[in-house]
Subunit: 255 residues, 5 copies
């Protein structure tokens, strides 16, 4: 699925997108770290997890960026010619799953932590959401690295089961707890779930692309840009909204 040739424009587009994600994730983490003391201790766990998530993402994007730069090379002066796959260096498509395995469960921890629910309710949600998230990623991986569309389809299907379960818990079960949240944050939290749905939805759709015969350099560039936007929404923007919730609740509790 990795294209053999990228035009200079395609190369620069991917280059710029990947670098944008590094900057967005890294400096969201730095921002939250500096702003942490302005949050009440009770909500710091959520923000700390958000820092970790954006930090891990930045680390992985540094590697993805370097891997991309090594994987496509040209001989043209000033880089103004077609980029071909390099000898001996490849773009590791499965690498994103390493990131997801760590960050996707933590994104749910982040959300639950900022709600500051009763300890038993919180535990109940976490023991269901975290393993489901890990399972979802682990089941998707064999499909991603397989060249066979049948295997891809099968594991994609299996992975969708925990995905559906996570959405069920978030949109059906969590709804009752939302009513116990201060009025000011209820609307934000509900928007946050929609942001989550929208951004997370990108990943299973991207997973389908090879099965839809949507191959070629353009499709691949489009996919990388799509991943980049989804990752910024699902981690950095998501973290900033969680931060805003924590700020409002800090102010409500201790004006």
């Amino acid at each position: 699925m990795i294209p053999d040739i990228l035009s200079p424009g395609q190369y620069d587009t991917v280059y710029n997108s990947l670098s944008l994600v590094i900057a967005a994730q890294l400096f969201t983490a730095v921002f939250l770290l500096i702003a942490l003391p302005r949050i009440l201790p009770r909500y710091r766990q959520a923000i700390t997890v958000a820092i970790i998530v954006c930090g891990i993402a930045a680390y992985h994007y540094f590697r993805i960026f370097d891997s991309f730069r090594e994987a496509f090379v040209t001989e043209a002066a000033g880089g103004q010619g077609d980029y071909a796959q390099a000898a001996g260096a490849g773009f590791n498509e499965g690498y994103r799953y390493v990131d997801w395995l760590l960050t996707v469960p933590l994104l749910l921890v982040e959300l639950i932590a900022v709600l500051a629910l009763a300890r038993s309710v919180q535990r109940g949600l976490l023991v269901r959401l975290v393993p489901a998230a890990a399972l979802m990623i682990l089941l998707g991986y064999p499909g991603e690295i397989s060249g066979d569309n049948g295997i891809r389809g099968l594991f994609g299907l299996l992975s969708t089961i925990p995905f559906a379960y996570i959405l069920y818990v978030l949109f059906v079960q969590l709804t009752k707890s939302l009513n116990k949240q201060p009025v000011g944050v209820r609307r934000i939290l509900s928007q946050l779930r929609w942001l989550l749905l929208l951004s997370w939805g990108v990943y299973p759709i991207a997973y389908l692309l090879p099965m839809l015969n949507l191959e070629g350099a353009d499709a691949w560039v489009f996919k990388q840009v799509g991943y980049s936007i989804a990752d910024i929404l699902a981690k950095a923007v998501y973290a900033l909204i969680i931060f805003r919730v924590a700020r409002i609740k800090s102010f409500d509790d201790d004006p």
Copy 2:
């Protein structure tokens, strides 16, 4: 527009300018980080955003600097010969837009935050300025990467609309709010807007250069140096003035 040949002196001039920007942005960020506790909590949001802006700029300039060094090479002993465009590595002119997309809206957030206006006024300004700034950059990008002067002109024109709108908000609408600022800072804030106008103006002018047939190595070197100075003014010097405003206001509020 990227020149084929740079003399050693031209090469060193760009090299020194780009490195100067790294040092200025990085250590402005470090300075503000160390000085942050001396600011009242109410104004820390503004300084935190300033740290993030200078940090993002330093990150991008590290990449621009490395990209420049790889893009121009010589075979002469001691580097004392002409530098030509390298095979397989180019100077990515569009890369600055990645930086601007993140930092230009934040520069406006920084300014609004230090004013510490009533919450609703602040929101009103942000929902107008931030999207306008993002739009301005996004509209300029297709013109920048296009080789066609017609497309360049068209998108430059489109991008100027949000630019004009931002200046209108800053110079017409914001003026009323300035009167509510303590006397001591009013003058500084007004100077700050002029610094902003002066430094931001550099970018659309540089954008015009290829359309004025101002090509050649000298023009390009001049442009890189101009960008460097404008970036230091628009981010580092700007941040230090914002810091001074925050210090004065901190002292006024809690002498």
Copy 3:
């Protein structure tokens, strides 16, 4: 024992596992560092040691990862061919012992420190556990780097003596002290010892592999993945459980 050839899939599996360990150790350290102020001073020593252990592991995995990448190379476009051992660069199997020499004694210090026992009891445990742990690693090293299975067996046996002694101290002698711990943490601490047994057990088993003639690329890849999982359990997960104990005890002491 290092395989001559790795398939692209095997190469990526090891690559992804090693990178996963870097991220897990590094960000566990960062998490604990940010969360440290939420722990009572009395338990901070334990968490500080946990930060150091995960930090040292991250440092060593950076080197192991780079060493792996240099040690196996391919000439195939996009890295889609077999990877062979590189000329002039090897994977340094003995390097893990450098890590263990520092971290294994510290893992025991971490455990003892979080118990916050009487000073004399604590000293008594440390003077037995720390030298035993160092001895265990030092005795294993000559066997590991020797090509001779007899020497391997001999030193493996010698190394097992301090290993058995450590387990004896932890599971027999420490048990009395556990009864003095608050009820809420007793169960966690007992689980922690089992986690320790389970994860530490991986290393002597991996040590036996060459003696069982379990050679070949698959066995080696399996061993690297096994080490990676064991290292995450024995350091990062272990540290997070220690952190939870410290949190509960902090809350018990100063609700």
Copy 4:
């Protein structure tokens, strides 16, 4: 003026000197950062500027060191042969001016800040010293990069005017203010000015060398070592003395 050949001993001498400066500047900055909380808030501005100065110097010396290593190469085994200028990489003599442009004005800010004079006196000194320092460096630059001794002499002369003015302000005008300093620090501050004179004097002298026909490898090595010592005195040692002044004054104000 850059020599064509360095002996191994000359190479190592420059290598060791440059690395010594990195360590000295970097760890002076780290030391001051850790010690900052032990200074009264009123004197923290001075120490913060000192941290920034040493940090900027460390950053530039990292580049100078790498540039030196790339600029001189040998083919001899173990590096035990003559080092010649590399093809395509040069030692950038003008690069130090980038550092000075930022740090020399800040060194004066550092000194004025630790005096903690009345706000108007302080402003009066800064508006004279800072522009003079920037002018001195900017005027020296064209002379430094010119190959012509006439131009070198002319700009050296022009640059000496602001230099003399700075010394006049420091040694004549500032003297009155020194009398308002606590007795214990008066002597240290006076020594500090002599340290400044001594170390700053090295730079115009080094500037003269090419005009005195003091060329050759030995002269160049001597100059690099001289710069290194002067930079350590003018920034790191200077910062530590400023720190001592701040400590004594902190103790006097709040014993």
Copy 5:
């Protein structure tokens, strides 16, 4: 004295030793930095100096490690062949003196600072110990880099004079002051001096090796390992003991 050939086992031994020192110094510094707030302000100066010493050592060992890796190369697959001296890269034996010049005087400052003696006694010790330590290193350097055994002997002798003087001050003059220390730390401080003697003694002995015709790869590897152990004892272990003294004294002063 640098060997022409290292076996893979010898190469790995030096590699592992040097990396061990990096980890030990770096993480001792990190540990002390995190633990600093648990020390009374009065003893923080000592711990801050200890952090700086271990930090400087870590920095130098990073360079020594990289220099070693570049200086010895092999062409054998998997690195399983003899390593020879590389063309154009050498192992810089004199580089350790750069480290010592900064750290050896600071090790004495660290010791004196933790004693927290009367200001005048402290000053009296420092003005004798610090210059003596710097002189000892400076006098040893010309001998180290000279290939002539006569010069080596002469400067070794000269360097021994300040060395003997330092030991005299520490073991004769300081003894009176030790009696004013709390009983609990007196024994530790006396052990600390023996650790100092033992570890410092390694350096003059290593200095003698070339004069004893103890050449060859084994002797050199032995020397590198010896230096590594001595450096860990003289800086990291030493710092941890100083830390323990500071902890006990902090507790005695403010229980």
